[in-house]
């Protein structure tokens, strides 16, 4: 049974078509990244999946149950949040979760509430009022609230927004472990880097339409090259070696280092060649991942074919 099976979803707001004939499939245990620039329709799609708005056309099944109207029966086993998680500021984090547990039919015990708070590292601030929470803490409380429902499908909208790098890594780890237990996760984000670590599949939206849909492996096979910043002991020699390597493009960056565009396997061969030539690599840093390249290629308004690697890197970094 698929966690999400949506077909032909359309949602219009006056003259704007926010979601345009979208098909979406999320399988159990799959972590699917929902990518797209701002205004691509990600949040609208999540609102439809939560039953918060009715699509103008199309059909949605969550965990085998059809989502019709604003009913909540289809949401059993579904957890998560859309946009930033919101809570009652005058209540503590624990009281908010207790209240939400009550709205779930008292399925969560106080111990489970404490566990959920501990899992997002809010245990020591559980009795503080939410009004004193930072954005990141509210985000973590939102994840705890989602976990209380013991979800089989987790819908998360920008889950790492407002989190520090450690918090982001922790969310990624949490998502991975949930998926390992069979939970299907649909992660919406416009920050691609954070998704690449955990997603096993991607759906890319642009202007309300699906422009790419596939697994992480398919991206690796079909996405444009990654871009790297490279600093060596002899950049001129490195450029010359790159020119001899098939599938490697190198340019001197206006900022001083080199920018290399290559598929991972081609990069490996290039690095070995540099070593053979006794060119010391002082820095090799990923500038633009394959996913970012693909994302940018799919969502940019211009053709990227003519761009030099450093120009591509600059554009992608600017867009990020």
């Amino acid at each position: 049974m698929d966690a999400v099976r949506a077909s032909g979803l359309v949602k219009r707001f006056e003259s704007t078509t926010a979601v345009d004939c979208v098909d979406l499939l999320v399988r159990p245990g799959e972590v699917r990244g929902l990518l797209g620039p701002n205004g691509a329709g990600k949040t609208t799609l999540l609102r439809i999946l939560f039953g918060l708005i009715r699509p103008d056309a199309g059909r949605t099944e969550l965990l085998g149950r059809e989502l019709a109207g604003l009913g909540t029966t289809a949401l059993h086993g579904v957890g998560g949040f859309v946009e930033e998680p919101c809570f009652y500021a005058y209540l503590s984090g624990r009281a908010n979760l207790a209240l939400l547990a009550r709205l779930d039919g008292n399925k969560a015990t106080p111990q489970q509430i404490d566990d959920a708070l501990s899992r997002v590292e809010l245990g020591d601030r559980a009795d503080d009022r939410v009004s004193g929470y930072s954005t990141g803490m509210r985000q973590r409380l939102g994840i705890a609230a989602a976990l209380l429902r013991q979800p089989r499908l987790l819908l998360l909208d920008e889950p790492t927004s407002g989190l520090d790098p450690a918090g982001t890594r922790a969310v990624a780890a949490l998502v991975e472990q949930l998926a390992a237990h069979g939970v299907a996760v649909l992660l919406s984000s416009h920050q691609i880097g954070e998704l690449e670590k955990v997603c096993t599949a991607y759906t890319v939206l642009r202007a309300g339409r699906v422009v790419w849909d596939g697994t992480a492996a398919e991206i690796a096979a079909r996405a444009p090259a990654s871009a790297y910043a490279l600093a060596t002991s002899d950049d001129d020699r490195a450029l010359a070696i790159a020119a001899e390597q098939a599938g490697v493009r190198a340019q001197r960056s206006p900022r001083g280092a080199l920018v290399i565009a290559a598929q991972p396997d081609r990069l490996d061969a290039f690095v070995l060649a540099l070593g053979d030539a006794r060119v010391i690599i002082r820095r090799l840093e990923l500038l633009v991942s394959q996913l970012e390249s693909l994302f940018f290629a799919l969502t940019a308004d211009e053709s990227l074919d003519h761009l030099e690697p450093h120009e591509l890197a600059d554009k992608v970094l600017a867009a990020a």
């Binding site: 949401l75 859309v82 919101c86 009281a95 009550r102 429902r149 089989r152």
Partner: protein, 446 residues
């Protein structure tokens, strides 16, 4: 964040059936009583009557403009009834507004509609839960105020008998019963105000209007009570329902206003809640409307509609039969004067034989206005006293300034030269309230 703990969520049982309105109700109650205004309201409901009674205890003045106000030093029940009167004018609308006016709008302000509606609660559950919570809180605070006012009155003054609105001394037991019935009856109009607060909250999505809405309606009621002589519009106002209990405190109770205002309240509740639900269920809970900032489009629409309704009501206040007439005022004040005169005589030790009565001929009119409608009246009471061993009858004239309200209740006051001051000495030399100084009464306007 720590790594995921032991229990695999996917292995956990799927959430079962609907959370149901009971869970939504309990959640709403928890939210309501976690808020400072609710707690303060409960505190005021408990402490307020005691403070009021304590202040009255240490001063000789009385809130004589309120029904039974002149009797607050004589009977603890009068304190409870005065508080009930004040609450009917302003207190209950404030309670309803504070407890129900922000109930729906607060979700818009906090942006929590999405949070609630992505749990296992249906729209119906949430709506019913909120209504029940508001109703419970409002009834709870009202009954708390009732109990507190009764206890405060009895503690500070005592459970003495009270002169009723026909000028007859009613026993403590009867007054206690009637006071409790009156408070309980007032729950109905309080719920009507609560329903209106809910409607304001749902329709405007603005907590400020939701809270102030019932208060504005109470103010409007007070203003409309000052104009027009017709009974129909006045009976249709929620505020008028708080006067329904007055008819219980006369010697021959009349229940017409009580029953009609009760039905009117039920109609208001039904209409308000139906409208609220229709608005609520049609709503799209889009994030773009949940910005946390007040949305003034709906409030302006509601205010404009309200202005039209007010204008229509103002024009209609004279429609229907006239409730306050010279005949009714005279017919009420004459026998009552007889009763309070005999009561005064009894207090000073002159007990009239059973069935004794004065011959009182009242003549009530308004100065410079037609002798109908609420306002200031003037009543001349021509009293024919039996004079044994002399001329058979001697006429005495007593003049009362009578302030009559649209609901048929009045306060009559005469210069001390006629009937003495506000207090007098009883047969034992104790200072007591002079029953003739200020006379409260009510007649049926229907």
């Amino acid at each position: 964040m720590t790594a995921i703990a032991s229990s695999p969520p996917a292995a956990a049982a799927e959430l079962g059936g609907e959370a149901g309105y009971r869970n939504a109700y309990r959640a709403e109650l928890e939210k309501l009583f976690a808020q400072l205004p609710t707690r303060l309201l409960a505190l005021v409901a408990v402490i307020g009557p005691f403070a009021f009674a304590a202040v009255l205890k240490i001063q000789s003045g009385t809130p004589s403009d309120a029904l039974f106000g002149a009797w607050v030093h004589s009977s603890g029940f009068a304190i409870s009834l005065v508080i009930l009167g004040f609450a009917g004018s302003w207190g209950f609308p404030i309670i309803a507004g504070l407890l129900a006016g922000d109930l729906f709008a607060c979700e818009d302000r906090h942006g929590t509609w999405k949070t609630i509606l992505t749990r296992s609660c249906t729209l119906e559950d949430v709506f019913a839960g909120k209504l029940l919570a508001a109703g419970t809180a409002v009834i709870g605070i009202t009954l708390l105020l009732a109990a507190s006012s009764l206890i405060a009155g009895i503690a500070f003054v005592g459970p003495q008998s009270l002169v009723n609105l026909s000028g007859v001394l009613a026993s403590s037991g009867r007054v206690l019963t009637l006071t409790i019935v009156s408070w309980v009856y007032c729950v109905l109009p309080v719920l009507a105000y609560t329903s209106l607060a809910v409607l304001f909250s749902v329709a405007t999505r603005n907590g400020i209007l939701g809270v102030l809405g019932p208060l504005l309606i109470a103010l409007l009621t007070q203003l409309l009570d000052l104009i027009g002589n017709g009974v129909i519009v006045h009976m249709l106002l929620i505020g008028s329902a708080f006067d329904g209990w007055h008819g219980l405190f006369v010697t021959h109770p009349f229940f017409g206003p009580l029953l009609i205002s009760g039905l009117v309240c039920v109609a208001w509740i039904g209409a308000s809640l139906t409208a609220s639900w229709q608005i609520f269920r049609r709503r799209d809970f889009l994030a773009r409307t949940d910005t946390g900032k007040p949305n003034w489009t709906a409030p302006i629409r509601v205010v404009a509609t309200a202005a039209v309704v007010i204008a229509v009501l103002a024009l209609a206040t004279s429609v229907g039969p006239t409730g306050v007439t010279a005949y009714r005022v005279s017919a009420a004040i004459g026998p009552e004067f007889d009763n309070v005169t005999l009561l005064q005589q009894a207090l000073i030790g002159r007990h009239a034989p059973p069935g004794a009565k004065l011959d009182v001929l009242p003549n009530c009119n308004r100065r410079g206005a037609a002798a109908v409608g609420p306002g200031d009246w003037n009543c001349n009471l021509y009293v024919y006293l039996p004079q044994p061993n002399s001329v058979p009858f001697q006429q005495t004239s007593v003049e009362y300034d009578v302030s009559v309200e649209y609901n048929g209740c009045y306060k009559a006051q005469s210069p001390p030269t006629f009937i003495g001051g506000p207090t007098m000495q009883d047969a034992r030399g104790k200072s007591v309230t002079n029953p003739l100084f200020i006379v409260y009464g009510c007649f049926n306007t229907l």
